[in-house]
């Protein structure tokens, strides 16, 4: 393992410190328990808090700021944060209209946020993101995983919250966006968790992992490495099948947002090549890609790979996707 680190135990704090100093105009870092908030506390709106294991940067701290999150609680690498973090963050950002937690659907995150919510002295609601359609047979699982689609949920809910909308309205929009979003990931290499010191899984030069999760969890199946168009075509099929199985229909104008997300070690050049193929294939299925996002938005440390996310837009979602946002990792119109 070669990484730019000092002591494994200090990675998180040193990195958070760097983030906070680099974006001192946007965020404040609070330590022990660890959480980050907007520099300037927002007033009179639902406070939106997300969080999860670290190693997915810029998720979530990179999305703190006007139009998106009020606070983020970073756990250790790939490990859910703990309830004391959420409680302290909520205490700091609560602005009279309740707390909305946006939580990726992993047992650890769900339970830790749940315990926080139970202990919270404020009204709260939770949007569980579960866009990963890789896990086919849902009776075998505690539910679909939340992956890159989480960014779209955070953006849209964050936008709505700025308008002064109620906690219920924010939760409803979050659930809708999550429902209209599906993702699937492919890994070419494993990530290496610093504390483990070696790759999470072994994979040869002729294999890929289809349906991989953002922690390097093994996916649907190990497949033979093949050309990009074939891989992307399988991703597109998986997503369309998922919408069909869940009876989610595109809106009238069939507009969709296509997010091609790098897991950390895949060059932008390849991400755009994948975007090219994915957009073409979705178009062939009658879906108009009218919004797009290409880059590293929900990573898995140094994993080489990509996830394809499609969000079926309607006018409301589109409006909130397009609205101004000012965060470290996403900035539009301000």
């Amino acid at each position: 393992m070669k990484k730019f680190i000092n002591n494994i135990d200090d990675i998180l704090i040193e990195s958070l410190n760097g983030f906070a100093t680099a974006h001192t105009d946007l965020v404040s870092l609070h330590l022990a328990p660890n959480f980050l908030t907007r520099k300037n506390k927002a007033q009179n709106k639902v406070a939106i808090i997300s969080g999860g294991g670290s190693g997915h940067e810029p998720l979530h701290a990179g999305y703190i700021g006007y139009g998106m999150l009020d606070a983020a609680c970073p756990g250790h690498v790939f490990t859910s944060p703990t309830p004391d973090q959420m409680l302290a963050a909520a205490e700091t950002v609560h602005a009279g209209k309740g707390i909305l937690f946006i939580v990726k659907n992993y047992a650890g995150d769900v339970m830790n946020f749940e315990m926080a919510a139970e202990m919270l002295p404020f009204e709260s609601a939770t949007v569980l993101t579960s866009d990963d359609c890789a896990v086919v047979n849902s009776t075998y699982t505690s539910g679909r995983r939340g992956v890159a689609g989480t960014v779209i949920v955070e953006k849209c809910v964050g936008s709505l919250a700025e308008t002064g909308a109620t906690l219920q309205a924010c939760k409803a929009l979050g659930d809708k966006v999550n429902n209209r979003t599906a993702s699937i990931g492919v890994a070419l290499t494993s990530c290496t968790v610093p504390a483990a010191g070696r790759p999470t899984f072994d994979i040869s030069d002729t294999e890929l992992e289809m349906g991989v999760g953002i922690h390097g969890e093994p996916g649907r199946r190990r497949e033979t490495m093949r050309e990009a168009d074939e891989i992307v075509s399988d991703c597109v099929d998986a997503i369309l099948t998922d919408f069909k199985l869940r009876n989610i229909e595109p809106a009238e104008n069939k507009a969709a947002l296509l997010l091609i997300n790098g897991f950390g070690a895949t060059p932008l050049m390849e991400l755009y090549l994948i975007y090219n193929t994915a957009a073409k294939l979705f178009n062939q299925h009658g879906i108009q890609i009218s919004r797009s996002l290409v880059g590293n938005y929900t990573t898995a440390l140094d994993m080489a790979g990509v996830s394809v996310t499609l969000c079926l837009l309607d006018d409301e979602i589109k409006q909130h996707w397009d609205s101004p946002v000012h965060t470290a990792a996403l900035r539009v119109g301000m």
Binding site: H76, S80, T82, M115, V193, A196, H215, E217, P218
Partner: protein
């Protein structure tokens, strides 16, 4: 059970986790995300470091403090589950009394119930519950029958081991391994393993006394 014992047990538990670094780390790498060892190390080390503040507390309060500390140190799935265990165990001891082994067994069972409720899982789903549920049942059964404490320990260690080994042939339906389907078969669940190790460490401590 005295708080002194709890403090010693915490050290033994930390020790067994650290001794089994490689095993725990590998198991969670195989069917999870590889952090179970480090999570457990962080939590058990924090507990082992609490001996001074625990020393003067009655067992129920000590266990509650341990639960809260685990809640804010482990993280992941195992954090809230193990925290719920200790907090529920503490609550039961407080309400029900702590004057017999049976009371401890009942408190242990209440802790396991809390895990079931928090994680919405049950036996056979390839989790720590495959160790904890049979151990709780056996613990209550044997202490109801007023068995000798050394015999109880030997039996619980055996039950824990059986439960842990049984996870090997299961498909996971809870936790991270749930995404794997058939591919989880052949691998022991890391949480089941760490629970078995902790039970073994505590039982061995009693046997040595």
């Amino acid at each position: 059970m005295k708080t002194d014992f709890i403090i010693n047990a915490a050290k033994a538990v930390q020790q067994t986790i650290i001794t089994n670094e490689h095993t725990l780390e590998s198991l969670d790498r195989e069917i999870g995300d590889g952090d179970h060892y480090i999570n457990m190390k962080r939590g058990t080390t924090a507990i082992a470091g609490m001996h001074i503040e625990l020393a003067s507390l009655p067992p129920a309060e000590a266990l509650n403090k341990i639960g809260l500390k685990l809640l804010s140190t482990i993280g992941g799935a195992s954090g809230p589950l193990l925290a719920s265990f200790f907090m529920a165990m503490a609550k039961m001891l407080k309400e029900n009394g702590d004057e017999s082994n049976l009371k401890f067994a009942e408190a242990f069972a209440a802790g396991v119930q809390a895990i079931i409720q928090r994680g919405k899982a049950d036996i056979g789903e390839k989790t720590m519950l495959d160790v904890l549920i049979p151990v709780a049942d056996q613990f209550v059964l044997l202490t109801t029958q007023n068995c000798d404490v050394k015999l109880v320990c030997a039996s619980l260690m055996h039950t824990a081991e059986q439960g842990m080994l049984a996870t090997k042939s299961l498909i996971a339906t809870k936790g991270r391994a749930a995404g794997l389907g058939e591919r989880a078969i052949g691998h022991i669940d890391p949480g089941a393993k760490s629970c078995q190790l902790m039970i073994e460490a505590v039982c061995n401590l009693i046997l040595k006394e």
